[in-house]
Assembly symmetry: C2
Homo-oligomer: 332 residues x 2
């Protein structure tokens, strides 16, 4: 059985409705130029044939494909899906389709992907890009580009300021009489990671807390679980993790070691992607990823409309969400 694809074209609709091809085109793009009656006849004919405008052909003639690309490091990281969803909804509202790119946290893959998208998208949104500033700039020169969680001057960007929430987290730990804490860092190329690490350091210095850094290359449950032992080895009584996934892994690793949370060690996550689903419910820094996705798309759509690029730096504040994984420092 051979796959026939009888995708109807504008010509067939024109024939079916006894009008010129251009009229069919107009019926779909500028119906106000036609009489109500012809529009109706054309729409009916189109319906009968199952016709839908071919966007590729349209793009070739107009130069506007109505597509954008959204590129993320890892679709399966729970931080991104809500953002993706929000961005999509925003795109659809302007009748744009979205390509989704997954880079597996690899800047080379990201670069390749962007070239691959070139020529079929009008604009790009890069979330948590791992590329160098230089490469980002190079891509931004070719077509409208908006960044999420990456602060490159001159390129429109939406930043979730986790620093504010992280600082609250440190103060929270200080209030609970902790004296020594650990920050478990995330991907080295991550802007968010730098921001959070700096915020921890600054707030800790101000509160007179001692800080140690433990590295977690990739933000996953497994990696978090693996760093539980090194964390305990530091002798710290509290830990702030780069994100909730790592924090959740740490809690599992701590449980493996028979160390109680929060009685022996307090754990704080970041991004609030797990809700109250962990046990104990995780104290974490709130997440604005939905707003970020929405804002990024709005910016991009505006750039496409105005054909101009403004140096926008849109910052979303965060705060600490206190649940039950933090408590008074254990007196040792």
């Amino acid at each position: 059985m051979t796959a026939r694809k009888l995708v109807p074209t504008i010509s067939q609709v024109a024939a079916e409705a006894n009008v010129a091809r251009s009229s069919v085109s107009r019926a779909f793009t500028k119906p106000y130029m036609l009489s109500d009656d012809t529009v109706r006849r054309i729409k009916e004919a189109a319906e009968r044939l199952g016709y839908a405008p071919n966007h590729t052909a349209r793009a070739l003639s107009t130069g506007r494909h109505g597509n954008i690309a959204l590129v993320v490091p890892d679709v399966a990281n729970p931080f991104f899906p809500p953002m993706i969803r929000a961005a999509q909804a925003e795109a659809y509202a302007s009748d744009f389709c979205v390509f989704l790119g997954n880079t597996d946290e690899d800047p080379k893959q990201e670069d390749r992907l962007l070239d691959r998208f070139a020529g079929q998208v009008e604009g790009l949104v890069l979330a948590s890009s791992r590329m160098s500033d230089e490469r980002i700039r190079a891509h931004a020169r070719k077509r409208p580009l908006v960044l999420i969680n990456r602060d490159v001057e001159g390129i429109p960007r939406v930043l979730i300021d986790s620093a504010s929430g992280v600082k609250e987290a440190v103060r929270h730990l200080a209030d609970l009489k902790h004296r020594k804490i650990v920050y478990v860092s995330g991907p080295a190329a991550s802007w968010s990671n730098k921001q959070r690490r700096t915020a921890v350091r600054e707030a800790a210095a101000k509160a007179g807390l001692q800080v140690e850094i433990v590295a977690a290359s990739v933000p996953t449950f497994a990696v978090g679980r693996a760093v539980a032992a090194p964390i305990v080895a530091t002798g710290a009584t509290a830990v702030i993790a780069f994100d909730d996934l790592i924090a959740q892994g740490i809690m599992a690793g701590l449980a493996d070691l028979k160390i109680a949370v929060p009685d022996s060690v307090s754990v704080i996550g970041c991004d609030d992607v797990l809700g109250a689903a962990t046990y104990p419910p995780l104290t974490t820094v709130s997440n604005r990823s939905v707003e970020a996705g929405k804002a990024a798309l709005s910016l991009l759509m505006e750039m496409l409309r105005s054909q101009a690029i403004r140096d926008v730096r849109y910052v979303l504040e965060t705060h600490l969400v206190i649940r039950n994984s933090t408590g008074r420092a254990k007196t040792r």
Copy 2:
């Protein structure tokens, strides 16, 4: 500051290299047809101008855009991201880009989306489609289409057989001496839901268990939480939920009502998307979504290569993962 886009075309390269446009085209697609020298000259000229073939134009003339679309009901439902990720990886391996569509569980939106993708994709993957068989068939007539978790005869499909795991779940509850259980149903248009409901009924009848159905229209945490009370009202001692999200919500709702899990009520989820993150860790039915995504893409790629459509029905078995949300029936 205005964004200029000086994208060079094949004609400019032809002029630069003193050859015909067709030769430039060949240099990029069929270099073996040209002398090594001309290929080199053309490539150099292209490099100098920063030329890259226009994907859109190429697609219009060849009918092959190297794009596929993946359509899901809800990107933010944790069941899908791993599947999306797997499908993407598989697509990239064949140098295909993927459009992601989100239907918000709405068949109309799904229909619209597919028309919107028409003309810019070579093939489609529909995951957990909520459309009617008829509409699915209509779209499948137009272009290669593969279904995930939807069983329509004649259309290639990948099915995650949760029935096997669900039946194990019922037997597990019977072994724990439960006599009356509740099945919390998911979206009415969901094939998986029908499959699971039927499996529960059959296995329960065989094991001599009484079953009540409680409806949860949309699979979300909030909905699950809301149905905790109706579940308790049935007097059942165990519940099997359509998916983990609902199960998690039910556990939260049960906690609100001061009902202990699993001491008073046992809870079983489906899809294993939460890992051991819930408290208590959720007993659930395993998930094969990654394999499903990969398999669907393989099928689609094969269809695109062979231009033929086979009536494939690829089934992935599941089984019960026993954790700590299930226990002996409470003697009342």
